[in-house]
């Protein structure tokens, strides 16, 4: 079938290690779209794995809280991914001090994030790079999980996974210990940290490097013991770390001053050290926190970046 070219690239909006991103228009319905042009030359290991993963996992996922991969096309021997155009992300909102947001807004963003994560997990996909920067916001206020460049299938029991995933500040303790087998619980940890960051408006556990991250994490949340996480001593680095007591409920209340008891319960549930005991997306979504008042803000009424 021959037709006129469908996508126009109008403006370059960003450049990463493996792709150049343009804003454009889908001609047939005038929809605004983002085009990721994958750089194919200059890479020693051929087509970048992130591009492969992005196509692989977004191709079949369709959910209001996951970015839509609209099309894949080749033009002049370059691979192009056409994605939904999403002009803002949660990091921008958090950092913009002129924007005030309420507990209801936080609840709404957390709800949408958890829905997206639940959708990934029920399709046996781990995102492995959740952070405010990868939670994009549509003009109608919907939050969408994006950047599936590190995503992968949940491994079978005998498969080894790499622990070098997730941006440092959002990395779960099992990853900090170098676990080669892990589950969707790594994503939930990241969501817990994002939840904390939304309440504090600053990154919750900003480690300076990988070693410091271990220290920062356990200083804030307590060093896990083999009483509540029996497998912990199998990690080689466990014996070398400093032991901190877990924070009391009162300390948490003081740190997260506006949080309700139910909010603290969900956050602590997501930030449980033992991944087996950490809350699942379903447990989070059905928790009291989402039932109690205030109701989550309707997406279209959430705070937005001011137009420049």
């Amino acid at each position: 079938m021959i037709a006129q070219t469908e996508y126009s690239k109008e403006k370059k909006v960003g450049e990463g290690t493996y792709a150049v991103v343009y804003v454009g228009t889908k001609q047939s319905n005038e929809r605004r779209i983002a085009i990721k042009e994958i750089k194919t030359s200059g890479f020693k290991d051929g087509l970048d794995m992130s591009a492969i993963r992005e196509v692989k996992y977004l191709q079949e996922m369709q959910h209001v809280n996951v970015i839509e991969l609209i099309d894949v096309f080749m033009a002049q021997s370059n691979l192009n991914l056409v994605l939904e155009f999403l002009p803002a992300d949660l990091e921008m909102i958090i950092k913009d001090t002129s924007i005030l947001f309420t507990q209801a807004d936080i609840k709404s963003w957390l709800l949408m994030t958890l829905r997206g994560v639940h959708h990934c997990h029920r399709n046996f996909i781990l995102h492995r790079d959740l952070k405010p920067n990868n939670l994009l916001l549509a003009p109608d206020g919907q939050l969408k999980l994006a950047d599936f460049g590190l995503a992968r299938n949940m491994g079978s029991p005998q498969e080894f996974l790499t622990s070098n995933v997730v941006t440092r500040w959002y990395r779960a303790p099992e990853l900090l210990f170098g676990a080669r087998h892990y589950t969707g619980a790594v994503d939930i940890w990241s969501v817990g940290i994002i939840f904390a960051e939304l309440m504090l408006r600053i990154p919750y556990l900003p480690g300076k490097d990988d070693v410091d991250q271990i220290d920062v994490t356990f200083r804030a949340l307590g060093t896990p013991t083999d009483r509540d996480w029996p497998e912990i001593s199998t990690f080689g680095t466990y014996n070398k770390i400093q032991v901190y007591p877990p924070p009391s409920r009162e300390e948490l209340r003081r740190r997260f001053i506006a949080a309700t008891e139910n909010a603290l319960d969900v956050m602590s549930g997501m930030l449980t050290m033992n991944p087996h005991k950490r809350l699942s997306p379903i447990q989070c979504l059905t928790s009291e926190y989402f039932v109690e008042l205030p109701e989550p803000t309707i997406p279209s009424e959430l705070p937005k970046l001011k137009q420049k």
Partner: protein, 323 residues
């Protein structure tokens, strides 16, 4: 058409019928015998690579799918086929997450092909060819990651065997049978779980005391024609080329007497050969009959027929409105 260029919309069809495969190969494979011969030696070569790198069977399976798929739409030249195979393996490593550095793959590939002087220049050239072919392979698969993603013959075979409460011996025998399926075009015709069902059925029939349960294939998201296609493809391979099978050399102790006759008996019992229904339009199917046109500058790949039809509809409406 000044100022614009042409674009082509391609619908992914990851599985084709035997007739469709033959039709596509008419454009690309001038010497069928040579192609088949090379396919077996390429399989052996890929096996050796997988053994050296300790890759699981799924890496080999995916590489063989890519290799055969590539030659449906690209001209077969025997000199290049090992480079294509190497690139297929490299890509399949990415697909099934058994990563290896391109330099390791390239030098192993050259070593197994007995290239004596492995200078950095020779390795670099090999790497270049691997990368050049990579995108082309993905294009022939229409960037369709629904296949070769999470279901692989050997893994799903064990799961189905467990689901049907088949014995360990039957499952093991099916696992050996299924290895030979990787050499066949059945990879391009039916999805992996269907091949697994066919292998399990055959294993039941070969094992004394075991019988294939009378199940509805829809329970396993498959159907009778697809399983039959795989079953007869395997059966015919064992009958026509028993000496080339890995099954022969890996037979369990109590099945040592299995030979061509055994499979001929199975075929007799199975009755008339059945399989996938051939569509009527094979000879007029443009995506199979037309050769690759390098002049088209933009190719868009879609997965669902609905999407394709919607766009056609939208286009014809805009056209009508314009006129």
């Amino acid at each position: 058409m000044s100022g614009t260029f042409q674009t082509q919309l391609m619908l992914s069809r990851p599985y084709l019928t035997r007739g469709q495969i033959k039709r596509a190969q008419q454009n690309t494979i001038p010497d069928r015998r040579l192609y088949n011969q090379k396919r077996l030696s390429v399989f052996k070569f890929l096996c050796d690579m997988c053994i050296q790198f300790k890759f699981p069977r799924k890496t080999l399976e995916t590489a063989m799918y890519f290799y055969q798929r590539y030659y449906l739409f690209n001209r077969f030249e025997s000199e290049l086929c090992y480079d294509v195979a190497t690139s297929c393996l490299f890509l399949s490593c990415k697909q099934v997450e058994t990563m290896k550095k391109i330099a390791d793959i390239a030098s192993m590939s050259l070593r197994l092909r007995n290239v004596l002087k492995l200078t950095p220049e020779v390795i670099d050239n090999c790497k270049k060819r691997i990368v050049q072919l990579e995108l082309r392979i993905l294009e022939t698969c229409c960037f369709d990651y629904r296949v070769n993603n999470s279901v692989h013959i050997d893994e799903i075979l064990a799961k189905i065997a467990k689901g049907l409460s088949l014995s360990r011996e039957v499952a093991h025998l099916a696992w050996i049978i299924a290895f030979d399926a990787l050499k066949l075009e059945i990879l391009l015709m039916v999805p992996q779980h269907t091949t697994a069902l066919a292998a399990l059925k055959m294993a039941c029939e070969l094992t004394k005391g075991a019988s294939w349960p009378n199940i509805r294939y829809s329970l396993f998201e498959s159907d009778e024609p697809s399983v039959s296609e795989a079953y007869f493809d395997l059966l015919n391979f064992f009958i026509n080329a028993f000496d080339l099978t890995d099954f022969r050399v890996n037979l369990p102790e109590d099945l040592r007497n299995t030979g061509i006759e055994t499979f001929m008996d199975l075929k007799k019992q199975a009755g008339v050969e059945k399989g996938l229904k051939e569509p009527d339009n094979v000879s007029s199917d443009l995506s199979l009959t037309s050769e690759w046109n390098p002049g088209i500058r933009e190719r868009r790949y879609v997965l669902s027929r609905k999407r394709l039809n919607d766009e056609r509809l939208a286009k014809s409406i805009t056209k009508r409105e314009k006129t």
